[in-house]
Amino acid sequence: MPVFAPIGRAVLTLLAVAGRIALFTTGSVGHGLTPPFYLRLILRQMIDIGFYSLPVVGLTAIFTGMVLALQSFTGFSRFSAESAVPNIVVLSMTRELGPVLAGLMVAGRVGAAIAAEIGTMRVTEQIDALTTLSTNPFKYLVAPRLIAGTLMLPLLVVVADIIGVFGGYMVSVYKLGFNPTTYLRNTLDFLETLDVVSGLVKAGVFGFIVTLMGCYHGYRSKGGAQGVGAATTNAVVSASVLILLFNYIVTTLFFSQ
């Protein structure tokens, strides 16, 4: 049976990790929903996660919108369906690319920073110090980040959606010769509330995932600078994979009958 042993071990490891993450998650949410609430810290995290991510998310969105218009135009012109460009752009942005790209960019920026900060606090005993000063690290460190991430990512995605559509509009109007009024009318006419709402729900889920992975890996890091480095990498990689996984799951929940 030498074949089964490694497989069994891998499965067990996976289950153990899933269990630890589940425990960490329920613990964090439990602490996040009961007082004391650190409003000052929540606000600071909202500014850190939301406001300071605007440039990177905005840049990602505008180029994505532009390239969407260009690609769908050149592709769809093969069967004379160029008029679908505005719909392609707005649906792709709101349903998929806005939330997924914002989530991935924030995973790189915020998830890594959270893992590094909390990981450093762990290996320098600052988290232990919190406990001895009668402060629950879950309430003080984890909950504010989870709350801020879950609330701010949808706002970032609203901005990303608008900027992305604007990017598509610019390329379509100034490069591809679309009529501005028709383009905007087509954009808005075909857009349904569900398209935007599903994208914002995704964004909330992704914001939770990114901050959760940052906190989880930071919290468990050990062994000095190297451990913190590993935690940072793990936070970004696991958040990115989970974003793509949950993107599929949420899409299925919203759009498959």
């Binding site: 606090m121 005993e125 232990d128 110090a129 406990t131 000063l133």
Partner: protein, 260 residues
């Protein structure tokens, strides 16, 4: 129980803790009387920090009993644990100052978070506590990263005593400092502990420091206390392990493990 029925401030019996296959504490017993200062000495990696962290509740022991003021504290619920934690102050080995906060906010942390004191009032107390450890009010507005090692230790000490705890733990308070600064910190520790009337449990491998702050001394080796007694007796312990340790001799019954 000691005479008069007053339980010792800290009583540890049969404490065991392993990390994976590595048995760190193997049935350790210590007792710290109210208002006294016990220093536990022992080599690096002998489990001194694990001992303190078990008493504070940062590490869950595998077995054994820990009593604070006669109350068993292993297996307490989180809210009861929080009540016991309020009796504690701790000076961490590396300082463990919050680098995202200003110095005065570090010192005032326990006052604001645990005692719900107003920020302005807590700031005054923090500045006064900083003065007690020889730091001026201007230091309060710096960040911990802007301070030298000795100043960071002072700030950590100020943070540990600001809430006026009944029991203070010191994890290698002089490690990493030059001998003069070490002696200054030891002096501050003795002063502060006396002024508060607190009970102190310190761990160190610095014998000079141990002699300055201890009333009683205990030596940990292979997860157990192998000798304890008043500080005056340390030089005539008659214990070969203690002899070797306090004179820092390379040969003797203690064989250094190169790998932790």
């Amino acid at each position: 129980m000691s005479a008069g029925g007053i339980p010792p401030k800290i009583q540890v019996r049969g404490l065991c803790k392993a990390f994976g296959p590595k048995q760190v504490l193997r049935g350790l017993d210590i007792e710290v009387a109210r208002g006294s200062s016990l220093v536990v000495i022992g080599g690096s990696g002998s489990g001194k920090s694990v001992l303190i962290k078990s008493i504070i509740g940062l590490v869950a022991p595998d077995s054994g009993s820990i009593e604070i003021d006669g109350e068993e504290v292993t297996g307490l619920s989180p809210s009861e644990r929080a009540r016991v934690t309020r009796k504690f102050g701790m000076l961490f080995q590396g300082g463990a100052l919050f680098d995202s906060l200003l110095v005065w906010e570090n010192v005032a942390f326990g006052l604001i978070e645990a005692q719900r004191m107003k920020r302005a009032e807590a700031k005054e107390r923090a500045i006064a506590t900083l003065a007690q450890v020889g730091l001026g009010p201007d230091v309060g507005h710096l960040r911990p990263s802007e301070l030298s090692g000795g100043m960071q230790k002072r700030v950590s000490l100020a943070r540990a005593i600001a809430t006026r705890p009944e029991i203070i733990f010191f994890d290698e308070p002089t490690t990493g400092l030059d001998p003069i600064m070490g002696s200054v910190i030891d002096g501050l520790i003795s002063d502060c502990v006396k002024k508060l009337g607190a009970t102190a449990l310190s761990i160190t491998h610095d014998m000079a420091s141990a002699r300055r702050i201890a009333d009683h001394i205990a030596m940990i080796f292979e997860g157990r206390i192998i000798w304890h007694g008043p500080i005056a007796d340390i030089d005539r312990s008659g214990n070969p392990y203690v002899e070797q340790f306090i004179h820092g001799k390379a040969d003797g019954p203690i064989r250094m493990q190169v790998r932790a």
